[in-house]
Every structure is written in structure tokens, then in C-alpha cells.
């Protein structure tokens, strides 16, 4: 009796779900309405971009200078918020906490960015504090010395992390003598830096010319513009120093570097090659290629190296394009025993992208995924501000956001293969592995001459 009931239930359940063997197809994509972007230029050259996003009562402001990078830029960024000509470091921190705010300064290959946020009811105060930090950093001697000591320790700490080591070595391998190879200063170089160098750097790089301020949040455009003008309007123009732009070295062969980290229980493997500047027309097809290769969960690297072979938790690829050049890379952290097999699979998947066309299914999915990702960025003030910032730091067309979807939809499998063939060129790229050389040496050596770094 019981069995019959169970059987009936099974049938009933089956018939109820007979039409549910596959998920309901996605509805037609909606048209994304991008928030209205207002751009104004102050007389001193500062570009001000204002974008209302009324999601929460907060405001985000990014102030970016095309400063270039290096030891001085790195230390200056760190000390810029440690006191101004009228506020001590502590006063600045206390002023920020009273408005639920923060200011953080970072550098990358192209720029120094002051990233700030606060409750929107205090927006004028945030602009005032942001302007004070960027315009009047005092670089107090005691703060410079403290930052130097702490930065040296932090670098030691970063260099104990395999992820940091692989990134640092790869940038050196790809960019050689070019300033793009800079990741962090050497501790002995930091020790020699002076307060005067930081002051000189700020005086010539933290200047309104060529700078942009992006404000996103719960704001009224006209009122915010007036507040911004009050904080930044009387900032004098300064003649810009043109940085030397050495050419990137031509790469003609594959190089393998092994960073020896005794006691590692994994090999962290990154394979990379030089990519074009962000402004290149190849950017979008390359982004799609990278999404298919390893930029999403349903990507080739994940399906092969994780879901079929179980070698790694999170193999992935990235097209990291900057103003003058970029890198495309694949990476996986794997247990020591499968180091060799993983290098083989990574190279195979890279070559497969160059040789074979991607499937229609992969292409359609990657396009929809890219379009969806930009829609998700609209949820946060910082996400939208950073997206807009890339337009300015890379000198992209202003209609980048509006045309993004149309431009992505146009991409064909042939376009993807073409950029893959051009840039997933590991024969002129580099392989960097961080791990325990004594344990995985035999697995790495078959791939070519290895430079081992202690």
C-alpha cells in the first residue's frame, strides 16, 4: 500500500514538472538607462563629472591625477592624508569620522587617485577635506618617517604572500625597464626618500590640469557643482611635467621565472603576455575572449582545470588593460603534485583560443555576461564612479557606456579568434611560478630554461 502511494506521488510529481526540464528562457533584455552624466571644466583645467545615483544617502568622490607611479608616488600617496598645512593627521581623521567618511589614496601604473566617500548630507564638508588633502598636503616630518618605517614592514609582509609575489615578478618580466613594471618600492629605496621629494612631487603632480573629479551619489548636480567649485575653483594651474615615456621592449621569446618560496604547499602559476592599451579597438573582443577562457564560472579554465580535473579552486584569466599597454594572463594555484600538468593545461587552453573558433553558445553567453556585469555596476556609487573613471584615465570616448552594449553585441567568433591569436601569445610571453622549487623542479624544467629567484 505504502509503495503504491509513493509510486503515485512520483508520477504526480513528474507530470507536474514535465514542462520544467529546462529553465524558463530569459526574457528579452531591457534597455539600460544610464544615469545622466554632467561634465564641466573649471578654469584651472579640472574636469568635474557629476552623476546623481539616489540609491542610499551617501556620496563618492574620486579625484585622479595622471601622475605615473614609482617609489615617490607610492610614499606621497601614503602620507598625503597624514596632515595638511592647517590640519594634523588626527584632526583630518576626526573630521572624516564625524561625516561617516574616508579618504584613501592609491597609485597604479598611470595615476594617483584620492578615493573618498561620506554621508551625502555632509558632501560639502567631504569636498573641503578632499581638497585640503590634495591641495595642501604638509608631509610632516614625523609622519613621513613613520610611513617609511611602516611601508618597509608592509612590503616585507606582502612579499610573504604568493599572490603578491607572482604579480610583482610578472610585471617585471613583461615590462622590464619600463615604469609599468613598478609594483612596489624596494625597502632600501624607501629609506632614502625625503620629505622634500614628496613635496616636489605633489607640487607638480597633484595639480588641477589633466585631473578629473568624479562625484557619484545622492546629489543635486547644480548644488554639488557649486560646492565643488568652492573647494577647488581657486586652485592655481601649474605647468605639467611631461613624463618620459620609454618604449616597451620587444619580446621575442618565452621566459620562465620561478620564485622559490620554501614550504609552499601550492604552486601559484601565472602565464601572461603583453596586451594593447585600453583605448585599442581590440579591447572589447579581448574582454570577451578572456571571459570565455577564464573570466566566468562557465569558462574553459574552470570547466577543465577545476570541474573536470580538480587541480585548482579558482583558475581564471584577466585582460588587464591600462593607458599605454596591458597584460592578459591566466592563473591557477595548485597542489605541488599537479604543477606540471596544470602548466600544460593552461598553455593548451591559451593555444586553443588562438587556433579554434569559440562556439556560438560560448560567445552568446560571454556577451550577455559582460553586458549584465556593467548593469550590476550601476548598483553602487563606487562601482559606477570607477567605471566612469576608466573613461577619463584611458581617454575613452565619452559615449563608452551608452555604446557598450551595441559594440559588444557586434562581436563575432572571428573577432575573438583574431585578438586571441594576436595577444594570447605565450611564445613571446612569460610564465611565473611561486612555490617550493625543491618539490616541483622536475615538473617545471621540461617547459624550458627556468630562471630561479630566491
Amino acid at each position: 500500500m505504502k509503495r503504491i502511494i509513493a509510486a503515485l506521488l512520483l508520477i504526480a510529481t513528474t507530470s507536474l514538472h514535465a514542462e520544467q526540464k529546462t529553465p524558463p528562457p530569459p526574457a528579452a533584455p531591457r534597455v539600460t538607462e544610464w544615469p545622466k552624466i554632467t561634465e564641466r571644466k573649471l578654469d584651472n583645467g579640472l574636469t568635474v563629472v557629476l552623476v546623481p545615483l539616489h540609491n542610499v544617502p551617501k556620496v563618492t568622490a574620486l579625484l585622479t591625477f595622471m601622475s605615473g607611479n614609482g617609489s615617490v608616488a607610492q610614499l606621497a600617496a601614503r602620507v598625503a592624508t597624514e596632515g595638511t598645512t592647517t590640519r594634523t593627521s588626527r584632526q583630518l581623521r576626526e573630521a572624516l569620522r564625524a561625516i561617516g567618511g574616508s579618504i584613501g589614496v592609491t597609485t597604479d601604473a598611470d595615476a594617483t587617485t584620492f578615493s573618498s566617500e561620506a554621508l551625502s548630507e555632509f558632501a560639502p564638508r567631504l569636498f573641503e577635506l578632499l581638497a585640503d588633502s590634495a591641495r595642501h598636503p604638509a608631509f610632516p616630518k614625523s609622519e613621513v618617517e613613520l610611513a617609511k618605517t611602516n611601508l618597509a614592514q608592509e612590503i616585507a609582509e606582502q612579499r610573504s604572500s604568493p599572490d603578491f609575489l607572482v604579480d610583482e615578478r610578472m610585471r617585471k618580466a613583461l615590462f622590464g625597464a619600463h615604469p609599468y613594471s613598478f609594483v612596489t618600492a624596494e625597502p632600501d629605496a624607501i629609506a632614502k626618500l625625503t620629505r622634500e621629494q614628496l613635496q616636489a612631487f605633489a607640487a607638480t603632480r597633484y595639480v588641477p590640469n589633466d585631473a578629473h573629479l568624479i562625484v557619484v551619489g545622492d546629489i543635486d548636480v547644480e548644488r554639488s557643482f557649486a560646492e565643488v567649485k568652492k573647494a577647488f575653483g581657486d586652485w592655481a594651474k601649474v605647468a605639467r611635467v611631461a613624463d618620459a615615456q620609454p618604449a616597451f621592449a620587444k619580446r621575442d621569446r618565452r621566459q620562465i621565472y620561478f620564485v622559490d618560496r620554501p614550504d609552499s604547499v601550492q604552486s601559484t602559476i601565472r602565464i601572461a603576455a603583453i596586451a594593447p592599451p585600453r583605448k585599442s579597438a581590440d579591447y572589447l573582443p579581448l574582454r570577451i575572449a578572456s571571459t570565455i577562457l577564464g573570466g566566468s564560472f562557465y569558462s574553459r579554465l574552470n570547466r577543465n582545470i577545476r570541474e573536470a580535473k580538480g587541480y585548482s579552486y579558482s583558475p581564471y584569466s584577466l585582460a588587464q588593460l591600462q593607458r599605454r599597454a596591458g597584460a592578459v594572463f591566466v592563473e591557477a594555484a595548485v597542489r605541488n603534485e599537479v604543477t606540471g600538468p596544470t602548466i600544460l593545461e593552461l598553455l593548451y587552453e591559451l593555444d586553443r583560443m588562438r587556433v579554434d573558433a569559440v562556439t556560438d553558445e560560448e560567445l552568446t553567453s560571454a556577451k550577455r555576461y559582460s553586458i549584465g556585469s556593467t548593469q550590476v555596476e550601476l548598483e553602487t556609487q563606487a562601482g559606477l564612479a570607477n567605471r566612469i573613471a576608466t573613461i577619463y584615465t584611458n581617454d575613452l570616448p565619452h559615449e563608452f557606456l551608452e555604446t557598450f552594449r551595441g559594440n559588444v553585441e557586434k562581436i563575432t567568433a572571428a573577432d575573438v579568434r583574431k585578438v586571441a591569436a594576436k595577444y594570447f601569445d605565450t611564445y613571446r610571453g612569460a610564465i611565473v611560478i611561486v612555490g617550493d622549487w625543491s618539490k616541483v623542479k622536475e615538473q617545471v624544467e621540461p617547459f624550458g630554461d627556468v630562471t630561479v629567484l630566491k
Partner: protein, 446 residues
């Protein structure tokens, strides 16, 4: 009398002026599944999230890491969805997906263009109804999870000691004191039957919350939920074991060496009062006074004035979530790197001086006001994304059967007084209630 009335009126006004009202539609399906829908028109996206009322705290003894391994198995297939297809369908619809295992919950979520919500609902319903796993898939995910443990813990300096080791040392009840990421041997010992049992025991509609937040129509979403989740059978879910933690009787100071680190670090934690106790909100604000940002007392004293520490991070449910998304014993934790040449006692001495000062003199009116502003700013950060709202709504529904609490939190915190902070400091921020771990590079220790 009149004066009190004015104070209350002013208070309501000041909070109301900045309040963000989150719409909450809350009900239960006949099978016990709690459902929360919250619409918002800011971005054309939505989040679908399913929160199950089981986390690593109550995973089976002898099977450390199992709750997390199981989370991975939920992506390995169900009756109508093959391995990897869950991701395939979501990404082809323009969405992102993930899952995570935490102390008292395991969540699965998709953030995607709002028109594709039905795809995510169908997929979540299919795996809630019919997990379909094989020996091969289990073996594969045991390898993947073992790599995750190596990647996140065993191959990293400090090895997440600020929560993995701190919890094991501060607590005495196994449920709070075991290795939450799991021993590799126990992860690889798990059997397919364990996976099936765990699914049948905990992954019941009546032990879960389904939340949909974002640019959706409530009535239409409700109908889809009814269609896909309505007939998943109710199951009997066991009572939660006793997870309570007895009062700590004396301070614990632990020393560890780290083969991969090059700079010493200290982690410490104080046992916190229950979330529903009157001391909890004061402790949340006290945390902000002490370590809420670089203007706070610990940072200013240890990093700036004394220059012993290099950095300072900490909080409630530190590195695992926030003060709302758990349900059980908890620590107020800190992690700091410090300069070679100093030691843990140097830091703890300063910490004790600061907490003693708060216990004796209390916090200033300005400190309290600033802590409330900081709390509000952090709170809005959580409300910004559809996932952030889903996380709070799911936690309030799962643990308190009251997702509408999301609209009462700010008002509740505005009402906390300096006297309450002082009393809480006296009670909880004492050495006897603290466990610390000093983690020194093996090279230095030699």
C-alpha cells in the same frame, strides 16, 4: 514629561530625515519556506538568494569542513540541471552567482539583469527539491575544496589565524571551537551518503529563506515562487544542538610560530553578549569607537602615538560577515601586524589601558555621536546592493522571523547612550574575557 516627549520627537525627526525605507513583503509557503520580496528601481538588476539555516558551526563531528564541502556539492547537479549547468544558465542570462558557508547559514545567490529572475528561481527550486550527486562529483569537489583550503589557509602567511585559530582557542564547546575550514583528511573522508544525509536533514524548505530584491514586480515574482517552490515537500529538521559557550574564567594568551610570515602579528577577541541582549547595540557602537576607522582609539594609540602596530583591523563576526548575519556565540576580534622588536604584551598593555579608561570614564559625547554616524554610513553600504539587502533580509527572517527589522535598526541604534557603552565596556572588555594569539615568524622565533 514634556521634555522627554520633545527629545523623542527630535530623535524621530533626525532619523526619519535620512532613513531609507526598504519595502518588505514577507510570507510563508505551506511547506514552511519563508519568502521575502523587496522591490527597488535604482538599477535594472535583481538578486535571488536562498539562505539555509545551517552553517559550519553545527556540521557533523569528525567531519570538519563538511558544511562547506556540501555547499560545493549544491553546484554539482540536480534532477534537471547537470554539473556546471547552474553557472551556465545564470551567466548566459547575464548574471553572476556564488554561494558561501558561514557560521549559522549557507547561502546561494544570483545577481542578474532583472528580467532573468525566473531563471534563477527555477534553478534554486530544482536544487532545493532534488540534489543529484555522484561519487565522481564528490571526489572532484573534495579535490577542489582541498585546493581552496591550501589557497586560503595552508599556503598563506598567518593562515587566517585571526578567526580560524582564535575561535578554536577562545571557545570550549566543540561547535564553536573546531576547524571551520576543515582538516584535509576529514574533507577527503566524507562519503556520498554523508552528502545525501546532510541534504535530507538540513536543506528543507522549512529550514530556508528565499529572498528576491531589486527591480521586480512583487505579484509576478510571488506567482513564480509559488509555481516553482510550492510543491517541494516539507521535512522534519532536527533541533539545533546546544551551542552555548560558558563564561571564560581567565585570560588566555597563546603563542604560535608561522613558517611563511615575515612580520609578527597579534589577534585577540572578547566574547560578546547575545545579539538580543540590551548590551549588544552598545558593544557594536563601542567597537566603532575603538576600531571603527583610523580616527578610532586603538588605531590612534597603537599605530600613531606608540607606533607599535603597522595596521589595525577588527570587528564583530570579523572576516565572516557582520553583526546581523549569525545566530550564536560571537567574538569581538582584532588583527594587527606589529613591528619586530616589540611583542604582544606591549600591545595588550595599551589595549588594557584604553579599555580601562572607557570603563572608568566612559566615552565622550562626540565619540558616541561619531560612532552613530559611522554606524549609519556602514549600514547604508550594506543597503546599497540588492545582495546586501538580501543578506540582511534573509538573516532577519531566518534568525528572528522578522525581516521588517531592517527598517528599525537605525532608530534602535540612535537611542543608545554613553552610559550603556561604559557599562558594556566594564562587563566585556576585560582581560579575563579575552583570548589572544601572538603569531611570530618562524625565522624570528628561532
Amino acid at each position: 514629561m514634556k521634555r522627554i516627549a520633545i527629545t523623542i520627537a527630535t530623535l524621530l525627526l533626525s532619523v526619519a530625515a535620512y532613513a531609507v525605507e526598504i519595502p518588505v513583503t514577507y510570507y510563508r509557503l505551506p511547506n514552511g519556506l519563508k519568502v521575502v520580496i523587496s522591490e527597488s528601481r535604482v538599477a535594472p538588476v535583481a538578486t535571488v538568494a536562498v539562505y539555509y539555516g545551517v552553517g559550519f558551526r553545527i556540521e557533523p563531528k569528525g567531519r570538519t569542513g563538511f558544511a562547506h564541502l556540501f555547499e560545493h556539492m549544491m553546484f554539482q547537479g540536480s534532477a534537471n540541471v547537470k554539473k556546471v549547468e547552474h553557472a551556465k544558465f545564470i551567466e548566459a542570462a547575464g548574471g553572476q552567482l556564488n554561494g558561501s558557508t558561514r557560521l549559522d547559514l549557507t547561502n546561494y545567490y544570483e545577481t542578474l539583469p532583472a528580467e532573468s529572475v525566473e531563471t534563477a528561481l527555477w534553478l534554486e527550486a530544482d536544487r532545493m527539491r532534488s540534489l543529484d550527486v555522484s561519487e565522481d562529483n564528490l571526489k572532484n569537489q573534495q579535490n577542489v575544496v582541498s585546493e581552496e583550503v591550501r589557497d586560503a589557509v595552508l599556503n598563506q602567511p598567518y593562515a587566517l589565524f585571526e578567526w580560524l585559530d582564535l575561535w578554536q582557542n577562545a571557545n570550549t564547546n566543540w561547535y564553536n571551537a573546531h576547524n571551520f575550514y576543515g582538516d584535509l583528511s576529514e574533507i577527503s573522508n566524507a562519503k556520498l551518503q554523508d552528502v545525501r544525509d546532510f541534504f535530507r536533514t538540513y536543506y528543507a524548505p522549512n529550514n530556508a529563506v528565499l529572498v528576491v530584491t531589486g527591480d521586480v514586480d512583487v505579484a509576478a515574482t510571488r506567482a513564480q515562487i509559488e509555481k516553482y517552490f510550492g510543491d517541494i515537500p516539507l521535512q522534519s529538521v532536527p533541533e539545533r544542538p546546544d551551542i552555548s559557550e560558558g563564561a571564560q574564567e581567565e585570560e588566555k594568551r597563546i603563542k604560535q610560530t608561522d613558517p611563511l610570515a615575515s612580520v609578527p602579528a597579534l589577534a585577540f577577541g572578547y566574547h560578546l553578549p547575545d545579539q538580543e541582549s540590551a548590551d549588544f547595540a552598545p558593544m557594536v557602537l563601542l567597537n566603532l569607537v575603538l576600531q571603527g576607522d583610523e580616527g578610532s582609539r586603538f588605531y590612534q594609540r597603537l599605530v600613531k602615538e606608540k607606533a607599535i602596530s603597522i595596521d589595525w583591523n577588527g570587528g564583530i563576526n570579523f572576516e565572516l560577515g557582520n553583526e546581523f548575519d549569525y545566530d550564536g556565540p560571537m567574538l569581538l576580534a582584532t588583527r594587527t601586524l606589529y613591528k619586530p622588536g616589540h611583542n604582544a604584551a606591549d600591545i595588550l598593555k595599551e589595549v588594557d589601558a584604553i579599555t580601562k579608561d572607557v570603563a572608568e570614564k566612559g566615552v565622550t559625547a562626540k565619540e558616541l555621536a561619531d560612532a552613530k554616524v559611522r554606524f549609519r554610513a556602514n549600514w547604508y553600504d550594506q543597503l546599497e546592493t540588492s545582495f546586501g539587502r538580501a543578506n540582511l533580509l534573509a538573516s532577519f527572517a531566518l534568525f528572528h522571523d522578522d525581516p521588517a527589522r531592517i527598517n528599525k535598526v537605525l532608530e534602535m541604534y540612535e537611542g543608545v547612550t554613553a552610559a550603556q557603552l561604559q557599562a558594556a565596556a566594564k562587563k566585556y572588555l576585560v582581560a579575563q574575557n579575552r583570548t589572544s594569539i601572538d603569531r611570530v615568524p618562524a625565522e624570528v622565533a628561532k
